[in-house]
């Protein structure tokens, strides 16, 4: 069960240009730090794929086991952990976030900056 969940989490991280694991969704954010990370990504024009970790506490456990990062939110670019809200905010303020996005995704990454929400829940 947890192996399936771990595979699903890894798959989202590895196949999405930008993944944000958060409490709630971009439409209904449930935590101030998730909001800070989301706003930092939006300010850089990032194409955010959001995963809500609240539906099942297993998601957070498996995610932290994969990433080695203890808290939520967590931001990944092209499968690489960037950090939490403080790092996302600091990188956005210095312009480093845009540079990272451009070098990972190409200079025109902001042209397709759609937000989407995916679920990693295992049905049944």
């Amino acid at each position: 069960m947890s192996e399936v969940l771990q595979e699903r989490i890894k798959s989202v991280i590895e196949t999405s240009p930008v993944t944000l694991f958060m409490k709630g969704t971009p439409q209904f954010v449930m935590c101030g730090n998730s909001e800070r990370a989301l706003q930092a990504l939006r300010s850089a024009g990032a194409p955010v794929t959001a995963v809500d970790i609240l539906p099942d506490p297993e998601i957070r456990r498996e995610l932290s086991a994969i990433s080695g990062w203890p808290t939520i939110p967590q931001v990944f670019i092209n499968g690489e952990l960037i950090g939490g809200a403080d790092i996302a905010e600091e990188l956005a303020q210095t312009g480093e976030l845009e540079r990272k996005l451009a070098s990972a995704l190409g200079g025109d990454y902001a042209d397709s900056a759609d937000e989407r929400v995916v679920s990693v829940l295992v049905p049944g």
């Binding site: 730090n33 080695g68 990062w69 203890p70 952990l81 960037i82 950090g83 809200a85 403080d86 790092i87």
Partner: protein, 80 residues
């Protein structure tokens, strides 16, 4: 159950970063569970931000796991 005291967290950070020129923990809400942690250390020079924050997280892993820290913000600086 009281949260962690700022001086307890500062002591853990000073143990982990004996070379730090500044270690400061502030209680952001007065409730003893939302903290701002600031560490200035030459060890952070040329270290990626992610690794800097990982070191701070590791230093405070115990109170974090115990649930005495509900939320913490981290601000790290190098010596330059």
């Amino acid at each position: 159950m009281h949260g962690a005291a700022t001086h307890t967290l500062e002591a853990l950070l000073r143990d982990a970063f004996p070379e730090a020129t500044e270690v400061r923990v502030s209680d952001r809400t007065g409730g003893g569970d939302h903290f701002l942690v600031e560490v200035t250390s030459p060890r952070f020079d040329d270290m990626p931000l992610l690794e800097q924050h990982k070191l701070v997280n590791a230093a405070l892993a115990e109170p974090f796991a115990a649930g005495t820290i509900h939320e913490m913000r981290i601000k790290t600086k190098g010596s330059r």
